[in-house]
Amino acid sequence: MLDVIDVILTKYNYIIYMSLMTLGLYGMIGKSNLIKKLIGMSVFQYSIFLFYISIADVEGGIAPILVEREVTYTNPLPHVLILTAIVVAVSTLAVGLSLVIRIYREFGSVDENKILMRLKDD
């Protein structure tokens, strides 16, 4: 029992990112609304960013912006990487949203089942 609590307390970042990831995956697969799929996709991506940020943490470290004082910084590299990855995520979201808009104009719905029915009708 104590072991379990210990694991939860020390590895809680992994638990959080895993549960967020599962949530996102569920949104992507389980929802039929395309916008909700995109939201799930974003949650999925951001859970991984959280994982990266959490592995960069140093005990008592602060955000890696230079200051004059003598301090411990967290590892700056994952922050830089995640900045790039966030830009990528945002562009993916933009592409996805524009696709959804065009799908809506074309099919008059953002519901996957209805769209597939309309496709079948053709």
Binding site: L34, M41, I48, F51, A85, V95, R102, E106, L119, D122
Partner: protein
Amino acid sequence: MIEELSNHLPILLIVSGLIGAFLTPLIGLIRRELCSFWASFITLIQFSISIFLFYQAVQVGRISYWLGGWEPPWGIEYAIDILNGFVLVVVSTICLSVAIYGRKSLLKEVPGKEIQLYTLYILLCTGMLGIIITGDVFNLYVFLEISSLAAYALVAVGDRNSLVASFNYMIMGTVSACFILLGIGYLYLMTGTLNMADLSRLLPPLYDRPAILIGLALLIVGLSIKTALFPLHTWLPDAYTHSPSAISALLSGTFTKVGIYVLMRFIFSIFGLEYFLRNTDIFTFLGWVASAGIIFGAIMAIAQDDFKRMLAYSSISQIGYIALGISLANNFALAGSLLHIFGHSLMKTGLFMVAGAVIYSKGIKRVSQLEGMGNVMPFTMGAFLIGALSMIGIPPTIGFVSKYLILLGAVENGEWVFAAVILFSSLLTAAYFWRVFEKVYFGENKKEEKAGKEAPLSMLLPTIILAILSLVGGFLAPMFIRVFELWIGGVILGGV
């Protein structure tokens, strides 16, 4: 000056693409038609740089370029060895030929969107070349996402269905990119470095750690989605069927191959063969999945009536061959895989070009309507014949050599099931192409159309060149294999 510039060729490969992509809107403001020439020009530059880099890599050995002048473990490194350089040449060849081919084809299929289309096109090519030459795993992820984004957008410009296809592609692609990112994260967590050479140096002592295995599993799953390995292929048929023909030609010829390349890079260069010899299950699993994919793709291809959809399922089958070759991991099979990357790029791009040419001049999309095309479009169908024969594996084409090598590899490892799968699937391949031959050469053309309704020269020429290359490639295969052996020897000897 020239001397100095030639040291910077790896980065110029990428920068020329970047500048080219973002100058396309400016070019398009002057004249829309110039965009396609501009794209051809940029891809031509990239093609020549790639050839030169490959030549250098063969002659001199590994080329390394430090971005911003920072030393590798800290800065981003671009590295080219033989594997790299070879895939570089393959991809840039396809990019160039599709750029030439696409001018007329895209104009007809998606009129009035040249500016966006060619910006994305150059971006896609640049992203793929970037994936290939980079020596930094995170940089690889970024380039992968750049090219994937361009690919989603390019798939979406096709017909009505392509929007849904592109959406599904995007969802799958994002999942795969996230898995890759997560895998990279685990590797970084364990080793503290992102440089490929550094990783391969630091990984061996950590072989027993479970985190490494998790990272590898995530990477393999992610890359399998990008390469459309069998159970994770679901995005591919729709995306290839509904996108414009030139785009499906490009994607089929290059993007999946790049994914395979990344897989090879991770398996053989970064993790090293030794890791897989300790955990042989991974290769066994990969082999079974690949052979299931080979059979599945071929059977599904037989069932299709849509020409492009048939080719798409055929792609799934052929990607299985390459993966099978990787999983066998001996001299013959690896050489066969590499050769099949080259061969399949040529053949499949050529076949998609044929499909596009038929759509261009006749508007025909279905196999059952192809009756008598052999007389109407003799050159196009000649190219189709060569490509299809090569796909089946009839000597002396390149497809024969690569399949034969993979078969030899299977025999050498004593994997008789895989050998049987290869032989059996060749029969299936012959079956689905025979259907087309039958229609094209022996079918009755009801309208009694005469010859001379060929596609324009700018579409015909790349098609024929690719077909001839896949024919000639069979004769040149020994030369290629000698080059591959330089790399394979390093991998296998270095590993064991």
